[in-house]
Structure formats: C-alpha cells, structure tokens
C-alpha cells in the first residue's frame, strides 16, 4: 500500500500535476461563475485534449474544474443573486442579502471555508467508507428514491414560513415545468403543444437563469434602484474565529448530508444544498432570520454542495455508475484510457485511486486559496454602479442561456422565465421552492411509477422494503421532532450565547 501511496503522491505533487490542478480550479471558478456554463460542459470540451495525456493528469485537471465550478457558482450567487450553477441557488438567499449589506466578501469567504470543510470531509469519508457506502447504494432502488424525493418535497412545504400558500404555488409551478414533454414512462405527450423542442422537456439551466438572473434584473429596474451603488467592505473579509466556532455544528451536519446525497447516483448537489439549508434552519435558535443574510445560511448549503463532489465519486469509482453529469463525462475519460471504474478499480489500480483522493484534497486547498484571495477582487467587482451592472448581467444571461444548447429556443425559455420570475417577485412569491420542485419533480414522479411497475401495481412495495420504510419513518420523525421536543421537554434547553 505504501508504495502505491508514494507513487500517487509523486504524480500529484509533481510541478505539472500541481499546475494542472491550479489551472483546473481557475477555469472551473470562471466557468462556474458565468450563468449557463457548467462544469460538465467545460470538462466535455477539454475531453478530446486529454486523449494524449496520462490518465492521472487528465483526472487531476478535470477534478480541478469540477471543484472550481462549485466555488464559482457561489460567487455570482452572492454578488448579484444570479447563481452560476443550480447548486448555488440556496446560497443566494442569504449570501445576496449579506452582499446588500456590504458583506459580500465575507459571504464568499465563509462559502470558501465551508466548501473546503465539506470537500475534505467527504474525501475522508470516501477513503474510509467507499466500499460500504457503495454496498448501501446498491440496495437503493426506485422505492427508496421515491421515499427520498418525498422527504425533499415535504421539507419544502415546511421550509416556507412567510406565506405557506405562496410557497406551495411555487412548488406546484416547479413540478408543472418538470412534467412538460414526452413522458419517459409511457411515451405520451404532455403540454408540449407539438413543439419539438418542448417534447424533450424544458432545459433546467435556462429556466434557472431566467428565474434568478433576468427576473432579478427586471425587479431592480422596476424598483428604480439602478442608481444605487453598494460599497463593499474590503477589510474584515475573513470570518472571525468566534464565528467559525459557532458554525462548527453546521459544517459537520451539512457535510454528512452532502456526502450521503452525493453517494447516491444522480444530480445531487442542488438537493443536498437545499436539504442542508432546511436542516440548518430547523436546528437554528433563530430560524426566522434565515434569508435575511445570516452566515449559517451560506455555510450550510456551500458545505453540503461541495461535500457532494467527494460523495459523487463514490458511485463513480465503486459502482461504475456516474454520480452526476460531470462524473458521467469523467467516466468517459476513464474508459477512453482503458480504466474501468467499478469495484475492481480499488484492487487493480490502487495507485490511480490514491492519486484521485489526493488530487481531490489538493484541489480543495486550491479552491480555498482562490476563494479567499478572490473574495476581495469579486467584492470590488460589484462596486460598479447598478445601472452599468444590470445591462451586463442581462447580456450574460442571454449569452449564457444560448450557450446551454446553442439554440434560440433556450434564450426564449430564459426570457419567458425571466418575466415569470419578475412577476413572482412583484407578487411576493418565493422562487427557491420552484427550482427545488423542478429538480425533485422528475425524481418523485418517475420513481413512484417505476416502483409501481416493479410491484405490478401494488403500493405495498413502499412498506415491505426495509430501505423505503426506514426513510419514510425517518421523515415522519424528523419533521415532528420540533413538536416532539416541545412535548418531551418541560423547560427549554439552556441557551449559551
């Protein structure tokens, strides 16, 4: 084992290896910060270039981009409330509110530290528990996924405190978007109005860019706030030790959530961020402050979505099933180099596995450096007056949504959802539940119907399988916990400030 470790360290810490990872992190951060560009796209475009490169170096570059993109998505979410990647949607809630107070730099700093924590945590878990987690993931089938999606949908219902009815409308609209197109389970057409592009369903990314990017811009114009200029604090970017100490619990819980969700195959970062945010609020002493710019809000989702990076390597490496879109592309890169990810990889090529673990850790360090060093630069960037910034953001939204599919249709989608996002803001509907509805909708619907197909129509499948039964029970306990706690404890716990 030791010799493999040394050999792996040799390639990871070689000057070329370090340079590639740093470059990857940098490219990833830029790509992540621009709406419409995803890590999957960047990795896919670099793929042909890596044909002639040794596999471990290629993977280092790709992991760098993957980690960097998570980080970059945060930056634009915090600064202008336009999440660069779907995973950063929840970050925008509190991060943007902080930036409005001039604390944008601090929010990015906290996000970088949280991401680092989550990344390292999931990496350690990956090293120690990968085979066990893989065995658990193998037991997961449609009923368990439905139970999980059900948990997610229930948690949105409880997460909107301001106006539950409007929150529910937002969720239903999100679910509605997710059913458009040919139904994957029966092949019948739903609400596509015979438009060939809508038949394959609405692409999620332009929808998100519209709701968050253009919607926000139009709202700012509506409020005539474009003459405003927010002076960002450039000093005191680093959170204090005291603040970090207070966040420790959130870092840990969110890392666990992110790693578990990441270990299940499927695009998990958005869901993980959402669940961590809900969890942080549920366990907070001041849940009502969430959404007004609290550091816990930023820390929880950023830790979780980055913990997914390590987590999603688990199914990729151990089961040979990609854990996310980016992982699917990376798996293609593995195969092209005649490396077959899967249970045998650990036995046959331990050196490669170790170098993946190590480069993931190094990439997390780079990400922390770029995040903290960049916080200052980024904070300066939005000291540009709003009336110059708003047209620039709009142009980026248009260019970004075009780049998703290279068609005008996605630009049109973006604009329609931009106007919807604007109307939702005017009428005070929350937008985050809608996006979660879009993400969870297909998972809930397809896994419900798949389960019933498997059981030939019997609902008993959800309760006879230990996995799904356990998740349903946990859901019930988790959401009744605040009430149970009140019932059980006569006097409130001691509050330590």
């Amino acid at each position: 084992m030791l010799e493999h470790l040394v050999a792996a360290a040799g390639s990871v810490f070689s000057p070329l290896g370090l340079l590639l990872m740093f470059l990857g992190s940098l490219i990833g951060t830029i790509v992540g910060a621009l709406p419409g560009l995803t890590a999957t796209m960047a990795v896919a475009i670099l793929l042909p270039i890596t044909f002639g490169v040794p596999v471990d170096l290629a993977i280092m570059l790709m992991l760098g981009i993957y980690c960097g993109a998570m980080n970059g998505g945060t930056v634009s979410a915090v600064l202008v409330n336009v999440p660069g990647t779907p995973a950063a949607i929840m970050t925008g809630l509190d991060g943007y509110a902080m930036a409005q107070r001039g604390e944008g730099g601090k929010a990015i700093g906290i996000a970088a530290i949280g991401s680092f924590y989550g990344g390292i945590f999931s990496n350690i878990i990956l090293i120690i528990f990968a085979p066990i987690l893989a065995a658990v993931a193998l037991k997961f089938a449609a009923p368990e996924y439905f139970a999980l999606a059900f948990f997610g949908l229930v948690s949105i219902a409880t997460s909107t405190t301001k106006s539950p009815v409007k929150g529910a409308v937002s969720v239903f609209l999100g679910l509605l978007i997710s059913v458009i197109g040919l139904d994957p389970v029966t092949g019948v057409d739903r609400f596509s109005f015979d438009n060939p592009e809508m038949m394959s369903g609405l692409n999620f990314v332009p929808v998100m860019i519209g709701l968050y990017g253009l919607g926000e811009v139009l709202m700012q114009v509506h409020q005539s706030e474009y003459g405003r200029k927010i002076t960002q604090q450039i000093k005191g970017l680093l959170p204090t030790w005291q603040e970090l100490k207070g966040l420790h619990g959130i870092f840990l819980r969110s890392s666990v959530i992110g790693t578990i969700i990441g270990a299940l195959p499927g695009e998990g970062a958005t869901i993980a961020a959402f669940m961590a945010y809900t969890d942080a609020r549920q366990n907070s002493k001041h849940p009502e402050k969430f959404g007004t710019g609290v550091i816990e809000g930023v820390a929880s989702c950023e830790t979780a979505n980055n913990a997914v990076t390590g987590g999603s390597l688990i199914p990729t490496l151990t089961l040979g099933i990609p854990g996310s879109g980016t992982m699917a592309v990376m798996m293609g890169a593995f195969m092209m180099h005649n490396v077959i990810p899967g249970p045998m990889l650990f036995k046959e090529q331990p050196e490669l596995v170790y170098s993946i673990f190590m480069s993931l850790a190094v990439n997390n360090v780079f990400m922390l450096i770029i995040g903290l060093a960049g916080a200052r630069v980024f904070a300066r960037m939005i000291s540009i007056p709003m009336n110059m910034l708003l047209p620039i953001i709009t142009a980026l939204c248009i260019v970004g949504s075009f780049a998703v599919t290279n068609t005008y249709f996605s630009v049109l989608t973006m604009i329609v959802f931009g106007i919807l996002g604007y109307l939702m803001r005017v009428f005070e509907f929350p937008t985050a539940p809608m996006v979660i509805g879009v993400v969870l909708g297909p998972l809930a619907e397809v896994s419900l119907r798949r389960s019933l197909l498997m059981s030939h129509g019997s609902l008993a499948i959800f309760f006879t399988r230990p996995g799904s039964l356990a998740i349903f029970l946990l859901t019930a306990i988790y959401f009744s916990w605040p009430f149970l706690k009140r019932l059980l404890a006569r006097k409130p716990d001691e509050v330590v400030a």
Partner: protein, 155 residues
C-alpha cells in the same frame, strides 16, 4: 372594497385559479395507458392542477378573510416606460444579432441599456461595455466555440 382588484393575493389567486382549470382540462386529455391512476402519465399533472386550484382559491379569499388588502405597487409612468423599453431592448438585441453580429450587437445593446438607465460616468460605461464584450467573446466564442452569428462585419 373596490381596491380588491389591486390586491396582490386576489390578482395572483385569480391567475392561478384560471391556470388550474386549464391544467385540469389538459390533464384529462392525456391518454391513459395504465389501469392504475397512480401509474398514469396524467397523475402528476392532475395532482398539480388540484394543488394549484386549492392554492388559487385560498389566495382569492385571503383578502376577505384577513379583511386587509395587500396593494400591488407598480412603478409610476416614467419608471414603467423605462422597464418596458428595457425589455424591448432585450428583444431587439436578440432579434438583430443575426444581422449585426455578436460583438457589434452586444456592444450596442450594452451602451443603449446603460444610456436608458442614466449612467452618469459615460466614459466608464463605454470602457466597461467594450471590456465586457471582448471578455465574453473570448470566453464563449474563442474558447468554448459557441456559434454566435457573425453578422455583417464578420465577427
């Protein structure tokens, strides 16, 4: 309560109510290929339409129950005009890009919109618009090979 027609909840409730009716009709029209309702392609759309119906009715009646209106505030005449022109510029930007080309179109769009939003420092605005156009062009066209239209000047 004449101001009810400008109440946020009432207006959005009415829109959602109408949407839910159309959705219900649309869901019923989806062909049923399975015996069990839960497994049909129309099951989720039906749930959504019923959910939206309940929410819509709740929002419609909310101002009557609370006996309080939550007035919708739209910007005044001139501000509203700015908003509409801002949206029109977006449309024009996309529509004319094929003809003007990416660089010229983007530059023009940025400058016009900045002008519309009353940028004070014109020099800074011009430089910024130029810089942003070049940076976007470099990242999207040169590096990522996104096929933006070339337009009359060939770039």
């Amino acid at each position: 309560m004449t101001s009810i027609y400008r109440d946020k909840n009432f207006l959005s409730g009415a829109a959602i109510f109408i949407l839910s009716i159309f959705l219900y009709k649309g869901s019923e029209a989806i062909p049923a290929t399975e015996k069990l309702l839960l497994m049909r392609a129309s099951f989720f759309p039906l749930v959504i339409s019923i959910g939206l119906f309940i929410c819509g009715v709740t929002l419609l009646t909310l101002p009557f129950i609370r006996k309080k209106v939550d007035l919708l505030s739209l910007p005044g005449g001139k501000d509203m005009l700015v908003l509409l022109i801002f949206i029109a510029f977006i449309y024009l930007y996309i529509y004319t890009m094929e003809f003007l080309g990416f660089i010229l179109g983007t530059l023009l769009y940025l400058l016009l919109s900045m002008l519309l939003l009353c940028v004070k420092n014109k020099i800074q605005g011009l430089l910024l618009a130029l810089g942003v156009t070049v940076v976007i062009y470099f990242i999207f066209v040169t590096f990522l090979k996104v096929p933006f239209p070339a337009g009359l000047l060939g770039f």
